[in-house]
């Protein structure tokens, strides 16, 4: 497995407005300019509802901006088809969702295998890799458990393992340690850090936790749909 190439991601004047049906709309992002060179480790902090998840969705090609432009490797992704964007997500993006979003009908290992299966990884390879990833997040022996049989923290760790399955170049982690104790937080951070090092991947961490933010070398602060702080340094 080669893994996804690390993209350069840029946002230019990006706005995202959600239409909630009856005329009232939410302006979740109100003009964001951002450039993420390959290999950067970035933390995003900000109060609830300031648009962090919305921003991650745009970076990871899960959503399209209402206004402005998202560029990957200098090319606007607005012009790409759904199919191309799905392919990019599958091969190059690892998403750790804020609410984990494991598939309830699949076991822990099947959840981790899912992205590899879509890429056509041979069964034996993907099973071995899924087991190895689960072991790395401390879930050896829980491969056959269904999500409803797992604790919140365990689910979150399965979600991390799944995000790493296809060796993504862009890792987007939305509160990846929100449900974890300090020991597991450390372990997960170490794993993410190691993967990032190895692949020189770009890692974006949305967090309220100073320990997590401390891993980043660049710190973004958001407020009301805008990036209001962009600081460098550990």
């Amino acid at each position: 497995m080669t893994g996804g190439v690390v993209p350069t991601v840029e946002l230019r004047g990006v706005e995202r407005t959600y239409e909630s049906g009856e005329a009232d709309e939410v302006r979740a992002l109100r003009g964001v300019d951002l450039s993420l060179p390959p290999g950067e480790v970035v933390s995003i902090e900000g109060p609830s509802g300031c648009g962090k998840t919305s921003l991650l969705n745009l970076l990871g090609l899960l959503d399209a901006p209402t206004r402005g432009e998202v560029r990957w490797d200098g090319r606007s992704v607005g012009g790409r088809t759904d199919r191309e964007r799905a392919r990019l997500r599958l091969e190059r993006v690892g998403f750790i969702f804020q609410r984990f979003y494991l598939l309830p009908t699949l076991t822990a290992r099947e959840n981790v295998e899912l992205p590899m299966r879509a890429l056509g990884t041979p069964r034996a390879d993907r099973q071995a890799r899924a087991s190895a990833l689960l072991a790395e997040v401390g879930l050896a022996g829980r491969e056959r458990a269904f999500p409803h049989q797992l604790s919140g923290g365990e689910e979150q760790r399965v979600a991390v393992a799944r995000a790493l399955a296809n060796q993504p170049g862009l890792l987007l982690a939305d509160e990846p340690t929100g449900e974890l104790d300090s020991e597991n937080t450390e372990a997960i951070l170490a794993l993410l850090g190691r993967v990032q090092e190895e692949r020189k991947a770009t890692l974006v961490l949305v967090t309220h936790n100073p320990a997590v933010a401390g891993r980043a070398r660049r710190h973004l602060t958001m407020r009301d749909g805008r990036v209001v702080g962009d600081a460098r340094g550990a």
């Binding site: 959600y18 899960l62 997500r89 309830p104 879509a118 269904f146």
Partner: protein, 415 residues
């Protein structure tokens, strides 16, 4: 692959699935019953035609509408390739047995030595080789239309009739065209004939065979004042030589010759009759399918709605799959697979239920329903086509749901 998911699924979803399967099964069972029974009955009629010993039928409008049957028989027999011309008069009459009670039955008047050659291979075994009905030509009693000759007073009784009333050869029964004992005429039972199973209704199975002239006189369809049709018959069945029978052009020529003799009657060859039967059968089949398509449409609309709802309640999982970048075809494939599985289940259950229903009717129903059910034929190809059509249409039903799955707004589905 777990299609339905064991946990966290709402019970009502399972109920919806069961209802959809039931609706589709009902919708499929209907055409299975209609097509198999309808097809069986027409096939049976066709077989009858193919097994007949005659090739041309003369018929007339109105009840007992062929007039001058004896004379016509002679004129047709004069045509070179004709080997037999058998007029048949069928009249419902009452039979009075010793007890005095009237038993309704069907009497057929025939000319004995013309009737026998027109029997098909399956029927001929059921009758005595030379019908023991007195004068084989029926000319003596008929006596050139005077009916002044000696009557035969002999009659053959069908075996179910003989069995039901313990009748045997040598016994005498009284017959009358009305339920009036006083007008009844006594006949001698001179023979018993078999009835092929499942071809005649209950009354039809109680059948009698007697000389044409005897029946004409008894029922008033002979001569004399007030007789609408003198020397009447219902049909005249004509047999030709083997060479002509197997040569459509020659057969048609004979038909035309006969038609020229009787311009006001219908004269048709059995292949024409078979064609007409087949046309009628295919019209019926079309009608059955149209009828069934109503049920199938309802079932498939139901399926489409249920699949839509399923996509709706699965929007989170579908959203996650799409967010991970799984290709559209895998998402569409799952929805279509679910749809096809539900429809396939419904179709299979429907086919089995339809077959069981027909078998049940054949076993436990009575009368005409039972007879028709016993004739049913299950054509595997038809059943497969029906199932296939349901499956193809279920792809359509699933397709609309699959499209909805692909159009899901991800930011919305993953909130």
């Amino acid at each position: 692959m777990r299609l339905w998911g064991g946990h966290g699924r709402l019970r009502h979803q399972r109920l919806q699935t069961i209802l959809t399967v039931a609706a589709l099964a009902t919708a499929v069972a209907l055409p299975v019953v209609l097509l198999s029974v309808g097809g069986g009955v027409s096939q049976h009629e066709l077989n009858d035609l193919e097994n007949a010993g005659y090739q041309i039928v003369i018929s007339a409008a109105g009840l007992h509408g062929v007039a001058n049957a004896h004379a016509l028989t002679d004129r047709i027999l004069a045509i070179p390739s004709v080997t037999a011309a058998s007029p048949v008069l069928s009249v419902a009459i009452d039979v009075f047995l010793g007890s005095g009670a009237a038993v309704p039955s069907l009497a057929e008047g025939v000319i004995p030595d013309q009737f026998t050659p027109t029997l098909g291979p399956t029927e001929s075994g059921l009758f005595p080789a030379h019908l023991p009905l007195g004068d084989p030509t029926d000319e003596l009693h008929y006596a050139n239309g005077t009916y002044a000759g000696p009557a035969n007073y002999s009659i053959l009784v069908s075996s179910p009739f003989a069995q039901a009333y313990s009748l045997s050869v040598g016994q005498s029964v009284k017959l009358a065209p009305t339920a009036n004992d006083s007008q009844a005429v006594a006949y001698n039972i001179t023979g018993i004939f078999g009835v092929p199973l499942g071809t005649l209704g209950e009354v039809g199975a109680f059948a009698l065979l007697l000389p044409l002239s005897d029946l004409q006189v008894m029922t008033g369809y002979a001569h004399g004042p007030g007789v609408p049709v003198p020397d009447a018959a219902d049909t005249l069945e004509v047999a030709v030589t083997g060479a002509v029978a197997t040569n459509p052009t020659a057969l048609n020529q004979v038909r035309n010759e006969i038609a020229a003799l009787v311009p006001y009657y219908g004269v048709s060859t059995l292949s024409q009759e078979a064609e007409q039967l087949q046309t009628a059968a295919s019209v019926l089949t079309g009608f059955y399918l149209a009828l069934s398509s109503v049920g199938l449409t309802v079932g498939l609309v139901f399926l489409a709605l249920v699949m839509m709802r399923r996509v709706e309640s699965d929007r989170r999982s579908i959203g996650v799959r799409r967010a991970l970048g799984l290709p559209a075809r895998s998402i569409v494939g799952r929805v279509l697979l679910q749809s096809v599985v539900v429809a396939g289940l419904g179709a299979v259950i429907g086919v089995v239920a339809g077959i069981l229903l027909v078998e049940g009717l054949a076993t436990w129903a009575t009368g005409a329903v039972q007879e028709a059910a016993q004739l049913a034929i299950f054509v595997p190809l038809t059943l497969a086509e029906l199932t296939g059509a349901v499956l193809v249409l279920s792809l359509l039903a699933g397709g609309s749901a699959a499209r909805a799955a692909l159009r899901l707004d991800l930011a919305e589905a993953l909130r």
